[in-house]
Amino acid sequence: MFNVARIIILFVIIAAVLMFAYYLIYTHNINKKIISGQVSGRKMVDIPKMIMIAAIIVLMFLCALFAKEANRPQMKYSRNNYAVIDISDNDYKYASYAGSANLDDASFAKMYSKEKNPGYDKEIVDDGDFKFTIFKRSAEADSFHPDFLCFVDYNGKKTSDLSLSISGMFCEKADNKNSFGTGSGGGEIYDTMLFIGNLDEKSFFNISAWIIDKEGEALYSEAMEKAFEEDKGEFPKEEDFAVSSASADIFIN
């Protein structure tokens, strides 16, 4: 809506400037005609008619703008490049973005700096091949800024037999249990990933990332089969078979 207001103000200013310019031209024209006594020649549209025409154009523009705005889906986040943004659930509790740092796209990452963000405290967690650059809200909460941002950088090897798994989970502070979240596994290794989200007082957000090779995947599959056979309700974690893994917890006070 803010952009719409800016467009309206800009349009009205342009219309007013054009109207003023027309007023000056019209005044000059009629003065010239009256002083020269020349009654023939092309008549200009007079000011009251021009005001009416301008008002109709402005109203039509505003109607079109509001109609377009009303038909736009209500998105809390940017629609640009949404194909590479994962939204955890319909409540939009958090979003993650994964992409190459060299990719020249329009994304959430463009809105925030990895160096400094006003209203946020910065914290860096180096864990193996992964670096977590965490920004926690220090300013008062509002509807437009997330409680936290976390850039996850991978600085390790990138070969064809390695794949990246990463997950973002909301956990209860009281018992460390996962409440909900999403993850992806066995995918392409990205240079930079970004997590954005909101937290309440009872929760924290855990980001886990690991790199696994073909051998690790095979061992993990075997261990899973064995766990199913034993049927004890205990299952292995994939990150235990990873060549590199890292984790960071984000708390908001």
Binding site: Y26, T27, I30, K33, I34, V39, K43, I51
Partner: protein, 148 residues
């Protein structure tokens, strides 16, 4: 028979000749007056503090009524007249004078500057520095007169 003629210039000579041919004497002292409809003597009788003043129509910048009084404005002076505004309007030549509001008639070539209003009005500054307004009722007549 003696007749006094009050005719506009266009008819003056032809009527005069015809009457003379018919044996009628034309005299300014005659008690019988032949007056053409819309006769215009080119002068308006006005008053100032010294008495009666005859103002040539060519000298008039504008005529204005204020309440029950009618004032004739020239380049430098203002005179009061007993004539009503509508009567003066009838006497003034239509191609040279123009009514711009219920209370003002201006001479067409005395406008120095014109400023359009936003609501079907014009604000005029005359060559003698006086300001008069063209009201909504006379807005389109004014535009048509000047072709603006």
């Amino acid at each position: 028979m003696r007749i006094k003629l009050r005719l506009n210039r266009a008819l003056q000579e032809s009527v005069k000749n015809e009457l003379i041919e018919r044996g009628i004497e034309i005299s300014e002292d005659a008690g019988l007056i032949l007056t053409e409809e819309g006769y215009n003597s080119g002068k308006i009788s006005c008053k100032d503090k010294d008495g009666i003043v005859i103002v040539e129509m060519s000298e008039i910048y504008y005529v204005e009524s204020m309440g029950h009084d009618v004032f004739v404005h020239t380049k430098e002076n203002t005179y009061k007249t007993d004539l009503r505004l509508y009567r003066i309007e009838q006497e003034l030549p239509e191609n040279k004078f123009l009514r711009i509001s219920n209370s003002v008639i201006i001479k067409s070539d005395v406008i120095k500057k014109i400023r359009p209003g936003l609501s079907s009005k014009f604000y005029l500054t005359l060559k003698n520095g006086d300001n008069v307004d063209v009201t909504r009722t006379y807005y389109y007549k004014f535009k048509e007169f000047y072709g603006i």
